[in-house]
Subunit: 344 residues, 2 copies
DNA sequence: CTGAAAGCGCTTACAG
DNA sequence: CTGAAAGCGCTTACAG
C-alpha cells in the first residue's frame, strides 16, 4: 500500500514541506496562490495524511476507548448496552473522534487496561458495561486518563446515570395506583444500579404506607430468564403471594411469564408483572409489558459528550453526574386488582 | 499525561537508545546483563511504548476496522450482528489486533470510508452489516485494503457466509415432514442472503413436488415486526391460505404472531410459523419458535481469522468463501397438519 | 556486544 | 510569504 506523503507534494510543487503542511492545515501565512496549488496537487496525487505521524507530533489521537465486557463476557450482546454503544459511537464520530475497544493485549503479551490505553494513547475511556470492582478497572478509573462511567460512580469522575431511584419510585406508585398493595420485587445482583432501584422501591413502599416484606424481595441475574423464573416460582408458592411482581429487566421478565403460565395463572388477570429497560423486548411480549423505558441511545450520547468535554478541558473536568430520566411505559401486564377474585 | 520514553531509559542506564530498543524487543545481540538492566529499569520507570511512533516506523498498526451500519443506522442494535461483532472482537484481540469503527470523519471534514482507512492506516476491514451497493463500500471492497465480508460476496475478496441455501432447504424439508404442503415464505428485502434463502425455499419446494405459488411469497423488512405483520395479514386473507409461514427472522416473527392472534387463530393448531436466526428471541416466544440458529459468534470469529490471515499473507489471500452451517431448532411453533381441521 | 545515524511523516517555532 | 531545522518516539541497517 504505497502512500503519498507531504514530501511528494512539496517536490511536485517545488515548495518546502513546511509550506505544504501549513497550506494543508489552513494556516493564514501562505499566499492564496501557493495554497491553491498545494491543495490542487494534493487532490491530484490523492494525498491522505498519516494519522500516526500527526499523533506522534501533536500528541493527539482523537481515539476514544470503550470498556465493554460484562461478567458473562457478552457485553455487546446485552441489548441495553448495545444501544448505549450506538449512542457513544454516533456522538463521538460527530465530534471527529474514533471509537476503539480497550483490551488487555499488546501483541502476544497481556498488559493492564491502563497500559493498553497508554500504549495506544487513548485520549479518554468510556466505562460502560464492566465489573467496576475489577482491580484493573479501578486502576484505570483512578489514573490520569479521562474517564466517564455509565451507571456507576467512580470517585472524582464524570458519569452518566439513569434515574434509577426515581424511575423505580414512579413505577411503584403507578402499580399502587392500580390497586396493588402486595408488590414484590425481584432485583438483579448487587451494583450501583441495583441499590438505587431497591432504594426507590423500599422508600416508595414506605411512603405509600405499604409493608416492605423480606419474602417479597428476591434476587436473580439480570437478563437471565432462568434465574428469574426460579425466583418467580418461589413467590408464587408463598402463602400470601404478591399481586404484582417487579422484575430486573424485560428479558428476564420472560422467565416470570413462564413460571406464571406453568402455575396456570394469567397475566394480568391473576397476577401483574412489570419489567425494566424498555429496549425492544417489551414491545414483543404478549401481553405487552409494562416497563420503564431507558433512553439508552441518549445515555450513550451524553457519555460521549461529557467525555469529550473532559478531554478538551482536562484542567477542570465536569464531575457532576448527568442524570437521564426514564419513561414509564404503561401496557397490559399490570392490571387492576380485582378484590374478590379467587385465583387457581 | 507525562510519558516515559526509550530515551529516558537509555539515559538512566547510560546506554544508547538503539541498545535499549533492541533489548526491549528481544533481539539476541544484547548481552544478558545489559538486557536485564534495561528491562528492570523499564519496569521501574513504568515505561510503555508509543504505538504511534512504532506504527510510523514499522508501518504496522494492528488495527482492524469494522464497517457496521445498516440501513436504519442501527447496526449495533441488530441482535444478530452484535453477536457477530462480539466474535470478531474476541478473535482479533486474541491475535493481538485492535478493533475500531470505520467512519466518514476526519476532524470536522467528511471523507470517504476508504480515505478514513488510509488516514488511520487500518490494516484490514471487516464489512459486516452495511449496504453493499453503497459506492463508498464498493470502493473500499475494490481497494488495496484487505477486506473480508460477512454474508455478501465481493469480487475477489474473502468472505464468511452462513449456509443460507441449505439451512433454508433443511427448514422446508422439516416443515414438509410435519405434513405441510402449503408453505408460504415472507422473505426480507433483496440481498445476497435473501436470494440464497429464496433459492433454498424454491428449489426444495420443487424437489418435494410442492407448488411454488407467487401469492405465497411476500416481502417484508428484516427485524421489523410491523411490515411482517402486514404481509402475514395478506396471507391469512387468501382464499386458500397456507398452513405454514416461514418468516424473515425471529424478531419479525412477532409481527406474524400478532397478525395470527388478531385473526383469532392459534399457533400451531391452526397455523404454523418458523423464524430464522435463533439469537435469543426464539427462546422468549410462546409457543417456542421453530427456527434456524446461526452461530453468529463463530461467524464473527471466522471472519476475523480470515481477515488476519489475509493481512499477514497479503500476497496470496484466501478468497474461497468460508461457509458456516446453521442448526435447525425444532420447537413448538410448527405443528403437524391436521387434515380434517376446518378453521374459522 | 554497543552505538551513531538515518528515517518513518508530520508540525511548529524561528529566521529570513 | 517561504523555508531550514528540530523534534515527536521509535526501529534498523550499518560500522566499530
Amino acid at each position: 500500500m504505497i502512500m503519498i506523503t507531504i514530501r511528494d507534494i512539496s517536490r511536485k510543487c517545488g515548495l518546502s514541506v513546511s509550506t505544504v503542511s501549513k497550506a494543508l492545515n489552513g494556516y493564514s501565512d501562505v499566499s492564496e496562490k501557493t495554497r491553491n496549488l498545494i491543495i490542487e496537487t494534493a487532490r491530484e496525487l490523492g494525498y491522505i495524511p498519516n494519522a500516526h505521524a500527526r499523533a506522534l507530533k501533536t500528541n493527539r489521537t482523537y481515539n476514544i476507548g470503550i470498556l465493554f465486557v460484562d461478567d458473562q463476557n457478552n457485553g455487546l450482546t446485552h441489548q441495553f448496552f448495545s444501544h448505549v454503544l450506538n449512542g457513544i459511537k454516533s456522538e463521538a464520530e460527530n465530534n471527529g473522534y474514533n471509537i476503539t475497544f480497550i483490551n488487555r493485549r499488546w501483541g502476544a503479551q497481556t498488559i493492564t487496561l491502563l497500559q493498553n490505553c497508554k500504549f495506544r494513547r487513548i485520549e479518554g475511556v468510556c466505562i460502560a458495561c464492566v465489573e467496576p470492582d475489577d482491580p484493573e478497572v479501578q486502576q484505570l478509573a483512578a489514573s490520569d486518563v479521562p474517564v466517564v462511567s455509565i451507571d456507576h460512580i467512580f470517585k472524582d469522575r464524570g458519569c452518566v446515570l439513569s434515574d434509577n431511584r426515581n424511575d423505580m419510585a414512579e413505577l411503584v406508585r403507578y402499580v399502587h395506583s392500580m390497586g396493588h398493595k402486595k408488590i414484590a420485587y425481584i432485583h438483579g445482583t448487587d451494583s450501583y444500579v441495583t441499590r438505587q432501584r431497591i432504594k426507590g422501591y423500599v422508600e416508595t413502599m414506605k411512603e405509600l404506607g405499604l409493608e416492605v416484606r423480606g419474602e417479597y424481595m428476591l434476587e436473580s441475574l439480570y437478563t437471565n430468564p432462568l434465574t428469574t423464573r426460579i425466583a418467580t416460582e418461589k413467590l408464587l408458592q408463598l402463602e400470601d403471594r404478591p399481586t404484582c411482581i417487579l422484575l430486573p429487566d424485560d428479558v428476564s421478565a420472560y422467565g416470570a411469564v413462564e413460571a406464571i403460565r406453568e402455575a396456570g395463572l394469567r397475566i394480568p388477570y391473576d397476577i401483574s408483572i412489570a419489567g425494566y429497560d424498555g429496549v425492544l423486548f417489551d414491545r414483543l411480549m404478549s401481553p405487552r409489558l409494562t416497563t420503564v423505558r431507558q433512553d439508552a441511545d441518549r445515555i450513550g450520547r451524553e457519555a460521549a459528550k461529557l467525555l469529550i468535554y473532559n478531554i478538551e478541558n482536562a484542567s477542570q473536568p465536569r464531575m457532576e453526574p448527568v442524570v437521564i430520566k426514564g419513561e414509564l411505559v404503561i401496557a397490559e401486564s399490570v392490571g387492576p386488582v380485582l378484590k374478590q377474585l379467587v385465583s387457581c
